[in-house]
């Protein structure tokens, strides 16, 4: 029989990975459900507009006509910090890093927001549908130069990245399960897929981008792709690609790296690929299998993944429950992830971000520690008040107990014995004016540890 603490600890693990984490009170609520029910809830969000969309628009009017990616920030970061549909948002971030479009080349904040919404809407659905939607996304077409791909002069950029980075992938030797001929055929199949021209934003602000299929600029001749021959259009390519074994493996590997572990486990990944193929590319089924597997739930998986800057920043805003309605501070949250190396709405290249250990360098670590220690000791935040109340209500005489109670109040997190001992020593050897000071020091130290950089 699993104890209530064990259950909460497990659900906390799920929420850190499938979302940005839940605080103590939220975990209390969630623990009335069975673990599998929490997974189901995460997997089945209702797509729809945000409750506070009108407020965001009112307070940050420049984000309504988001001219650049930076102007669009207040819109997305509010959802990352507040949305109750945590997996929907976490998946949007996943696809944003995989089907990556860089806001700086695209230079169109509105189109970036449209794309994130596309990921929310289709990100948990069928992969073929998602690939088709992203191929019809005007921002993507512009980013990968498909508007320069013509019937008589196809540009291979989109065709190549579609196969190499978005679906089938390549191995360590740069070899894919497709040939250069396949790249050429894919490029030809996507001729005529482009964004409509829009007026430049420099005098009236931006105009929404729109997709356009130009039949007259589409190569209608016969193509051979992955061994099949026919008069293929982009949709045919997407359908063939999505159901390819290499795609199943590639997408499942990326999902595994993002949600489970940075250490590749081929056995687990091939189980996921099988689920993918049996369910014809239904992402939700793969995630369900993944989150409900004993492998994901096991102790050895927990606290081993380096938090991305978004995991850290939005984990902290959720833990401290800092924002009730949008304000200037919430609008600037993206600056914090940027200083830690993640420029939201502007991944560094079509390859997305290099995740894992690469997130951490000395500059970004200093930013992480300073940001987290400031926020966790901001006693104006409701979440901090809650933590203080929870801990101070319990035994305040024993340093080890104080530390354990802090870890529990912060959402059932774990740190190593060494770190524990050093924080306990800190409490023993320093003088504090009151209980609050004591607890705040523990909180500041916890978020500054190497342990806290993992989720």
């Amino acid at each position: 029989m699993i104890t209530s603490t064990e259950k909460k600890t497990l659900i906390a693990h799920l929420m850190r990975r499938a979302g940005f984490g839940s605080n103590y009170n939220q975990l209390e609520e969630l623990s009335y459900l069975e673990y599998d029910e929490v997974v189901d809830q995460l997997l089945n969000p209702e797509f729809g507009s945000l409750e506070d969309q009108d407020l965001l628009d009112r307070y940050f009017i420049a984000s309504v006509e988001a001219r650049t990616a930076r102007h669009a920030d207040p819109q997305w970061t509010w959802r990352l910090a507040k949305s109750n549909k945590q997996l929907e948002e976490k998946m949007a971030l996943f696809w944003h890093g995989l089907l990556a479009v860089g806001g700086i080349k695209l230079d169109h904040g509105l189109a970036m927001l449209e794309e994130i919404d596309l990921f929310r809407k289709y990100g948990l659905g069928n992969f073929a549908t998602l690939l088709l939607k992203i191929s019809e996304d005007p921002g993507m077409m512009y980013w990968l130069d498909n508007q320069n791909s013509h019937k008589d002069a196809p540009n291979e950029n989109y065709g190549r990245e579609l196969l190499e980075l978005f679906s089938m992938g390549i191995d360590e030797n740069g070899e894919g399960a497709y040939s250069e001929e396949d790249v050429k055929s894919a490029a030809r199949a996507f001729t005529g897929w482009a964004s409509k021209p829009t007026p430049p934003p420099f005098f009236l602000g931006p105009f929404p981008m729109e997709f356009n299929f130009d039949e007259s600029d589409h190569d209608n001749s016969e193509k051979t792709f992955l061994g099949k021959t026919g008069n293929f259009n982009g949709q045919d390519i997407v359908d063939m690609v999505a159901m390819h074994e290499a795609t199943a493996n590639f997408i499942c590997k990326r999902l595994y790296l993002y949600f489970v572990s940075e250490e590749i486990n081929n056995e687990e990944i091939s189980k996921l690929s099988e689920v993918y193929l049996i369910n014809k590319g239904e992402i939700k089924k793969v995630l369900e299998y993944m989150f409900k597997s004993e492998h994901f739930k096991s102790e050895e998986i927990r606290f081993k993944k380096v938090k991305s800057p978004s995991d850290l920043v939005f984990g902290i805003t959720r833990l401290t429950d800092k924002y009730e309605i949008p304000n200037l501070d919430s609008a600037e949250l993206a600056v914090n992830t940027l200083l830690m190396g993640q420029f939201l709405l502007n991944p560094p290249s079509v390859e997305g971000w290099h995740e894992g250990e690469e997130w951490i360098d000395s500059g970004s670590l200093i930013e992480r520690i300073n940001y987290a220690s400031n926020e966790i000791s901001n006693i104006n935040s409701q979440g901090v008040k809650n933590i203080l109340n929870l801990v101070i209500d319990k035994d305040m005489s024993n340093p080890e107990e104080i530390l354990n109670n802090c870890l529990e109040a912060m959402g059932y997190i774990k740190i190593t014995e060494n770190t524990k001992n050093l924080i306990t020593e800190h409490l023993e050897k320093n003088k504090f004016n009151n209980d609050q000071e004591k607890v705040l020091d523990v909180l500041k130290l916890i978020v500054s540890t190497p342990d806290f950089q993992y989720c």
Binding site: L55, E65, R70, P199, P200, F202, F207, L328
Partner: protein, 313 residues
């Protein structure tokens, strides 16, 4: 009948982060032949300011730029000009009212954050009555508060809710000649009219067969005609002095003088524009907000198109 007589005049504005032009103009006042336009920007982009321009697009000066110091602003919401030729500016980040002379020189400021009667939490629209008292839409506190020009609290009315006389994130405010008060009760999708003592008079929430959607701003002109920015649906509604619906505007903008100048020196931008050919879309309002009038003209701040559309009455 006004609806048949109302004609588009011209447009002033260009998107610009500083100097000549605007960045998300949300409020304006026409006074002594000068149009004062409040650019909101985003707070983090720091391009907010009040620009003073002439009707023939001469950029004269700007003030109240980004900052916390005296005479600066972070998230400005509204401007009003009192009977002593002073410009008042509300700021919902600093919870502050700042007073300038007509040349934009700082005179004084006041305002205290909180929920007590003399405090404010995110002030939105502001307007003056004949006694030179200022009404502030204290929008998070769901109250309309009256202060003297130095910030001494006089009275207030309203509370949070959806019933008559209650507010849900109210925004703009205007007074008619009899000092009746009109409030854009934004999240309740209606305009409410009150007697100057705060007594509820009526609700305006529909026109033809449509509902008002998130009204941002209201303005009553010298004849008692009511103008409502139907922000949620990107139009401007005009009602007569009995609040009977007359007309709905969707925007008729032509290229402003500044836009023409820009396109002349940047021919490739001009050809991109031609190539896109969205000339109808270019005319339309996008999040219209502040409205002002004089005897002949109607000025509409077109927030997401960085311009002021001007109509003849």
């Amino acid at each position: 009948m006004l609806s048949s007589r109302i004609n588009y005049s011209h447009t002033i504005g260009i998107a610009s982060f500083e100097g000549r032009g605007f960045m998300n103009p949300i409020e304006l006042k026409f006074h002594n032949e000068i149009l004062y336009v409040l650019s909101r920007s985003n707070g983090s982009n720091k391009n907010n300011r009040i620009s003073a321009v002439s009707l023939d697009s001469e950029h004269k000066f700007e003030f109240a730029n980004w900052g916390e110091e005296n005479g600066k602003s972070i998230l400005p919401t509204s401007i009003a000009i009192d009977h002593k030729n002073q410009i008042f500016l509300s700021d919902e980040h600093l919870n502050r009212i700042t007073v300038f002379d007509l040349n934009g020189n700082f005179k004084k400021s006041w305002g205290e954050f909180g929920s007590d009667e003399n405090q404010i939490n995110r002030p939105s629209g502001i307007a003056f009555n004949k006694d030179n008292h200022i009404y502030i839409v204290d929008h998070i506190n769901s109250k309309i508060k009256k202060f003297d020009e130095d910030g001494k609290f006089i009275s207030s009315f309203g509370s949070f809710g959806t019933k008559e006389g209650e507010f849900n994130y109210p925004w703009g405010i205007s007074l008619d000649n009899e000092e009746n008060i009109y409030i854009a009760d934004w999240r309740n999708n209606r305009v409410q009219k009150f007697h100057k003592n705060g007594e509820f008079i009526k609700t305006i929430n529909s026109f033809k067969d449509k509902k008002i959607n998130r009204p941002s701003s209201v303005h009553v002109d010298d004849r008692g005609y009511l103008f409502v920015s139907n922000w949620g649906d990107n139009s401007v509604l005009i009602f007569d002095d009995n609040q009977n619906f007359l007309s709905e505007l969707f925007g008729d903008a032509t290229l402003s003088k500044w836009c023409k100048e820009f396109l002349e020196v940047n021919p490739e931008q001009s050809s991109w524009r031609e190539n896109a050919g969205l000339f109808e879309e270019e005319k339309r309002f996008w999040k219209p907000t502040g409205i002002d009038t004089n005897q002949d003209l109607i000025f509409i701040a077109d927030a997401c198109r960085h311009r002021v559309q001007i109509y003849k009455k």
